[in-house]
């Protein structure tokens, strides 16, 4: 059983390696950039897949957590504390290695928080927000939950859009690369493209393994029980409120990590990452990939995000996701991959026959 899961992830990694080699050989190495970004977005999407598919909770504002992660690390790593150097707290932090000085590309020097420390703060903040918001929000059902999460996402968006020291409409730029052991880093010059790709692949694989483990474990069973028959789950001793909260916080953490790394990779972040449309896109991907299927979601996410980033959908990008949401929910609520064409067509024919009564 255990080997089964690790084996699946292993195959995924091998596939990723093969893809990278093939692309470079074909001279299309530049595609790795969008694949890397797609991989980071997929981290966030996997979190939502867990939330929606296993805990059965909807979140229309998850891009907010992504943004909290990204903006926090962007702000912390770009805010120059140099002028404050003399202050005891600042110099203590610098001594401790939490603040680092670096060149800022204009010939000056910036004293800002070390990316690793900033990342930890960012994820912790997102988790704290999820905890604070989750306690009241998860008590809500259905529409109220959806609206509350939509509202939270919109608040985050309004805040980042309207606050000057968060860059307003322009966002935050000049975010330094995220240092990794062995001299590698996330972000930085194009030469690190292959390395960055593998970092993303590894991160995604680790997250996938963790989630696959979780779904088979006691918590996963309890989540599936909640999704299957919530009242009966409670009767069996499952603390449904606590489990839903834990899942919510975990999914927020995943979104935040995605936000952090993507921000470092791109060297910046903008308010569109917090938009409702982004949240809806995440949801659409989970719906298409199959709400109960982690691998289905992963595959769909990589594919759809990659295509979207490549601009394949052009000006119809949002429309495509909106349409896929509707289409999937109408015809294939279990996801595209669970679709059985013959049965679906039969159901379609039946519905059309039944709905053809009483004209307006």
């Amino acid at each position: 059983m255990r080997l089964h899961r690790q084996g699946q992830v292993g195959i995924f990694v091998v596939g990723a390696v093969a893809l990278q080699l093939a692309l470079v050989a074909a001279g299309k190495g530049f595609l790795l950039t969008q694949l890397t970004m797609a991989a980071y977005y997929t981290l966030a999407v996997l979190g939502i897949s867990l939330l929606m598919g296993y805990a059965g909770q909807i979140s229309l504002g998850h891009a907010g957590f992504f943004a909290v992660g990204g903006y926090t690390s962007a702000l912390l790593t770009t805010f120059d504390l140099g002028p404050q150097r003399a202050r005891p707290l600042v110099s203590a932090l610098e001594q401790a290695g939490l603040l680092v000085a670096r060149a800022d590309g204009y010939g000056g020097e910036v004293l800002a928080v070390h990316p690793v420390a900033a990342a930890l703060c960012a994820v912790a903040l997102a988790m704290a927000l999820a905890l604070a918001v989750g306690v009241p929000v998860l008590r809500l059902k259905g529409h109220y939950l959806a609206m509350a999460t939509l509202g939270i996402g919109t608040i985050v968006y309004s805040v980042v859009l309207g606050t000057s020291w968060l860059g307003s409409a322009d966002g935050i730029a000049g975010v330094p690369p995220f240092p990794l052991p062995g001299g590698a880093s996330v972000g930085g010059r194009a030469g690190g493209r292959v390395v960055n790709y593998y970092v993303a692949v590894l991160l995604l694989s680790a997250a996938m393994l963790g989630l696959l483990n979780l779904v088979q474990a006691r918590v996963g069973r309890a989540l599936r029980a909640i999704h299957g028959a919530e009242d009966a789950a409670g009767a069996m001793g499952v603390d449904t409120a606590r489990l839903k909260l834990g899942t919510f916080v975990l999914s927020a953490a995943l979104a935040a990590v995605a936000g952090v790394f993507l921000t470092h990779y791109n060297g910046g972040i903008g308010p569109s990452e917090a938009s409702t449309m982004k949240s809806v896109k995440y949801m659409a991907i989970v719906a298409v990939g199959g709400m109960g299927s982690l691998w289905g979601t992963l595959g769909m996410s990589l594919a759809l995000n990659f295509l979207s980033l490549r601009g394949t959908f052009g000006v119809f990008d949002d429309a495509v996701f909106g349409l896929s949401l509707v289409a999937i929910m109408l015809f294939a609520p279990e996801g595209l991959l669970a679709l059985e064409p013959r049965r679906a067509l039969a159901a379609l024919r039946e519905r059309l026959g039944g709905a053809g009564e009483a004209p307006r």
Partner: protein, 256 residues
């Protein structure tokens, strides 16, 4: 001696309907007691109040000396009370074994971190849970159904799985909501034997039932409700002869 389960002066109203009205009864440890009455008598409402799915408007419910009215269902479960449902509530998209394993939820600890990292102690714990679940299923004779998708099983088998799930945590008190509904005579007799064995293993059983043969055969005591009120509480023989009870049931067909 403190009664095992004590329900005193419990009432519950839903909108314009007084579902349960000032009902009191006790249940002693090791007994099998049935709650019977015509439809609409308030039996399931009573059950829901005991298991935490509903809060009494008035009155108190104590279990092993501690009050349990107003607790959440999972808190009631943690006190050692387990239940089945009138309309079978198995977990969809999970196998019968997984359903029963969830029954062991309270007897295991692994949380998010242990689950994500697949720690060895949590793996051991999961194996133990699995073994215990299989044991309970074997006790009920359904271990062969372990890997079947729970909701695809035959009705009688689903009832058995739900019972196994309720028993998996080793509860002190088991609440069975119409366990014989939809079962034929043979299956009902098997069920009767099963319930007796459950009691012999140390649990106390409170059941809601319409099937009089089952009730007469295995119950030590019977509580009769009608229109939300208690009209009799005694051993089966006495209840059967009670004129009030007969009046309430007159014209009703006995379940076969």
């Amino acid at each position: 001696m403190t009664p095992f389960l004590e329900v005193s002066g419990v009432s519950k109203r839903f909108g314009g309907v007084q579902a349960v009205s000032d009902v009191s009864f006790t249940l002693r440890r090791g007994a099998i007691k049935a709650v019977i009455g015509p439809n609409g008598a308030g039996k399931t409402t009573l059950f829901n109040m005991v298991s935490g799915f509903s809060t009494p408007d008035r009155g108190a419910i104590t279990f092993a000396g501690r009050p349990i009215h107003g607790l959440q269902p999972h808190e009631v479960a943690a006190r050692g009370i387990s239940r089945t449902f009138q309309n079978i509530r198995l977990f969809a998209r999970m196998t019968a074994l997984e359903n029963v394993m969830v029954g062991r939820h309270l007897r295991s600890r692994a949380g998010f971190l242990a689950g994500l990292l697949d720690l060895s102690w949590s793996r051991r714990e999961a194996a133990a849970v699995r073994a215990a679940a299989l044991e309970v299923m074997a006790f009920l004779g359904i271990e062969g159904l372990a890997d079947a998708e729970a909701t695809s099983l035959a009705y009688g088998q689903q009832r058995a799985v739900e019972l196994a799930r309720a028993l998996a945590a080793g509860p002190e008190l088991v609440l069975l909501d119409e366990p014989a509904a939809g079962l034929n005579m043979r299956e009902t007799r098997d069920l009767a034997r099963l319930i007796t064995r459950v009691r012999d293993q140390g649990a106390t059983v409170l059941l809601v039932e319409h099937d009089m043969s089952l009730v007469m055969e295995i119950c030590d005591e019977v509580l009769v409700l009608a229109s939300g009120e208690k009209i009799a509480e005694a051993d089966p023989g006495t209840v059967q002869r009670d004129p009030q009870v007969i009046k309430v049931y007159l014209g009703e067909e006995e379940a076969c």
